[in-house]
Subunit: 156 residues, 4 copies
Amino acid sequence: MTRALVLTVIGAGDAPEDACAMARDVGREIASRGAVLINGGRGGVMRAAAEGARSAGGHTIGILPSYDRASANEFVEFVIATGMGEARNAIIVASSDAVIAMAGEGGTLAEIGFAKKFGRPIVALKSWPEIEGLDRATTPREAVDLAMKLAACSRG
Amino acid sequence: MTRALVLTVIGAGDAPEDACAMARDVGREIASRGAVLINGGRGGVMRAAAEGARSAGGHTIGILPSYDRASANEFVEFVIATGMGEARNAIIVASSDAVIAMAGEGGTLAEIGFAKKFGRPIVALKSWPEIEGLDRATTPREAVDLAMKLAACSRG
Amino acid sequence: MTRALVLTVIGAGDAPEDACAMARDVGREIASRGAVLINGGRGGVMRAAAEGARSAGGHTIGILPSYDRASANEFVEFVIATGMGEARNAIIVASSDAVIAMAGEGGTLAEIGFAKKFGRPIVALKSWPEIEGLDRATTPREAVDLAMKLAACSRG
Amino acid sequence: MTRALVLTVIGAGDAPEDACAMARDVGREIASRGAVLINGGRGGVMRAAAEGARSAGGHTIGILPSYDRASANEFVEFVIATGMGEARNAIIVASSDAVIAMAGEGGTLAEIGFAKKFGRPIVALKSWPEIEGLDRATTPREAVDLAMKLAACSRG
């Protein structure tokens, strides 16, 4: 069995509507290419990306910080209740083939740090200009195209 | 969206063939009832249960101890690379609605301990007579029937 | 630098007073032999063992399940806030040279499971008759003597 | 018991000698003020900071990524073997009252992200100009003075 590529979209858990709209588009693009979406399973960018992916028939996995499976948003198909708090960010990144980073705060920065550590390709979507060494995109479609290409290379 | 029930089958990573045959049957029964199989994603009972579940068209999730996604067995559909070692047993149990326990050693005992801690129903399949307070079954079908019933109750 | 031996005492977080008295004695015996006490840092057996160890001038480390350092009992000298929930039991055991097990429930059982998995010597103090392969003791002094001896062997 | 303040020094695991010399000075300053040093317990900046702290009679705690306690550097007094890989960075930060950040790569960036997430004061010592919202220092003494002051405020 060849496994589908797995992408994560990271960003603020309390994002404004325009960011959520962009995240929904990213999720839809991911699913429409047959890739799986994995992320933190909560609100904001996480919820919107999962909504987009489900709307296009894709699989979604939510890696929760708590043991409370009911805290997953409704668009998470498979709930992983880590109970390990913010350290679950390392699991999200390690389980992905590539990372699409939107604007966010400390948690998002930690995920970018882990992606660098683990050697995962990172595509910054209109965000994180201050961090060196990221690939850049300005639209959801461009971000997912690039992330898919880099993910395929990286998996070999 | 109502999520499918999630069951885990725990047991030895280097189980003999008769144990693996039983695990395959358990996996098949789980999938045939529409439930998702989650477990540790490695060999022995984990591999056999996933093989059975996939053969019946079910979804399988493997929660690996390492960051090495290539260490997942071929029947794991969704690979979660925790990198958190044996502590990943807590995640497996916390992400399940019920546990089916086969014979095993320290890792399996730790999972039974977590299931008690988290209040997850545990069905011992021809194993663990020395541990009090477990439900008991003698065939894969009986174990899965009982686990599904208890899981549905427990989720409410 | 040769590091001091590290022992853990595991048992119920809501233990009755006679169990706590026994745990205090165990903690005192550990410290009086120059060993470090590590455990879960909360109440019951954990608190009592730490109290005993501090009363004899020993070092105590508490590995908390949450990020809330204020939840450590007052006898924890060094607080490690794991935020990783019950999975922190694996860290406690992995960081110890030997385990002294008193009566307990699911969490304690998980720790015994991890100790078997990690090959750490386990001394059951008037408890866990149903688990095979543990060493046995009937008094705190006997338990600590045996645990220290096994720990020293095991570290080599 | 009032617990001593706990500081962490983060930076590259394979730092050049001038960075290590600076980390040693930071460790010494931390210990000379009675604070405890906690960090990742491996090489480079981690080892040098621990060496400095021990040389001034301070306590040092090493939070290892693996289960291999022998991988701790010789200046770690208390070894915590998490076995949880890079996710252990969250534990280091959560267990600290303040963070002193030196130059580093992905792992260090993840720790800065967690410190922001957890609301821990961060003092950047001649490093990370691209990250907003950090306090700044140019010498080890200045960094430790500032970190101690912010840590005391933060703990209340």
